[in-house]
Symmetry: C2
Subunit: 286 residues, 2 copies
């Protein structure tokens, strides 16, 4: 058995050409290298060097060993990288969601249900989420349409109804509720809420959406402008109630969605406590 530190030292010598150079790179003394090179030969029982009193060079067998050593050292580095990646996956639970609401709601639940695990969240469209679930990039996903796939275990979660926060002095403020036509030609301020934006752009083509990604900027714009603001029953319940605005529901089919929390069916046992935890919340929200 040739230990890796010996192969590393041989590799350094093979690349640098001199023991002194290799010793410098490895931060060890020359004599240590002399001994190591002798030790490899002794361990293998064959001669690997041509000794010229002045210069040490690899003979053909030595070159063969150096070549393999290089490969083995690369494999060892790969081992470390793969192990760290596996470890990271073990310690983190990745939640993918089609919208930001579920993320905000679920992070505390996940933190409590899986103590010791880091929670990583990301937003993506439903289709991409299913793909990420299957290639194990995500362990849990939140969709706004029920997946048909039998290999995916799925549990109904919250409903969310779209609201528009209308400035009190806005013409629409007199209404009790809104429909798509009311919003034609309007601009609506909205945070980057995931699927909602795409859905509304499709369903309300005559309305423009002003997407904000920074929460503070968003808040300032809401305060400083008399624009319509995107909102929902859940957001209102969470306390997101813009000042000096009336919050009106948007009465359209698309403006009310159900969320579904899903995982790979074979893995559902791992997440039982989590699914139980959100079931009560889900029922409570109806």
């Amino acid at each position: 058995m040739i230990e890796l530190y010996l192969l590393e030292q041989l590799d350094a010598f093979a690349r640098l050409g001199t023991l002194s150079g290799a010793a410098e790179e490895l931060h060890i003394s020359q004599p240590a290298l002399t001994r190591s090179m002798k030790k490899i030969e002794a361990d293998m029982g064959i001669v690997l060097f041509h000794r010229d009193k002045r210069k040490l060079t690899l003979n053909p067998a030595g070159k063969v060993v150096a070549e393999y050593a290089r490969r083995i050292l690369a494999d060892e580095r790969e081992l470390l990288a793969a192990a760290y990646e596996a470890d990271r996956r073990e310690r983190t639970l990745t939640l993918g969601s089609c919208g930001i609401l579920a993320i905000n709601h679920l992070i505390p639940v996940l933190t409590q249900s899986f103590p010791g695990k880091s929670i990583l969240t990301e937003m993506a469209p439903d289709g991409a989420l299913v793909a990420r679930l299957k290639n194990r990039s995500c362990q849990l996903i939140v969709l706004h349409e029920k997946p048909e796939d039998k290999s995916i275990f799925c549990q109904r979660y919250l409903r969310e109804q779209l609201y528009i926060s209308v400035p009190e002095d806005h013409p629409l403020a007199s209404k009790a509720e809104l429909c798509a036509a009311d919003l034609a030609g309007c601009s609506i301020l909205t945070f980057d809420l995931g699927f909602w934006v795409e859905l509304c752009r499709e369903k309300l083509p005559k309305t423009s959406f002003l997407i904000q990604t920074d929460a503070d900027t968003m808040d300032e714009l809401v305060d400083a402008s008399n624009l319509l603001v995107f909102n929902s029953d859940q957001m209102l319940k969470d306390g997101y109630v813009p000042e000096k605005r009336k919050n009106l529901p948007l009465r359209e089919d698309f403006a009310s969605v159900s969320y579904y929390v899903a995982c790979l069916d074979p893995e559902k046992a791992r997440y039982t406590s989590f699914f139980n935890a959100i079931r009560s919340e889900s029922i409570g929200s109806r």
Copy 2:
């Protein structure tokens, strides 16, 4: 840097399933293994095992490491095998020859010209020899036809003239020399001399050859029979003179050949002393 002995121990545990089993296979104590497994984790800085008080099992990251370890250990074994093979090639000089005569003559010369090297000889037809020279299975070859290939350096060596040793009471014994027709219908005893047998079978289709591979058997058959015996000027010079027989030359073009010693042209400098040694012998033989 994870040392190989640790990976070996992890691999044994991964295969055997228990530390005690692995310890037995590795001929070390259990506590040593416990410590080694802890050391791998400490060296890598991640957890690789699920500890159940009673049973130790690999977690996903541990399985990844075990898988890589297996590959790396296989590579290390391959390294050893390749190095030993390279070392063997370095220490042995392989001579291929079309006939046994050149082998017998050249072994002492090679032994003296390349002190410290083992000499390995083998017999094969000219075509195969050239192939073996090119793929480095042989360093030197002896042919009975001059190769045209420019990448092959070639030097003329001995000539050999075929003789037939005829029993003194045999009808042919009265002749001074023989031709192909004289041998029609005869059986000739011969040792396995390489290309000569194939050549004679082709040129003397009406003569049968009784091939012997064991030298003692051959000698006894020569003494006990009144068969013709295959011979040559070189063999006679070497002292192979069957008793109670007359040695007659076979006067046919094919029955006299020149040998050529060859090596790869880029390597000829390595064999200068050898080529010089056989040049004098070659000239002396004419």
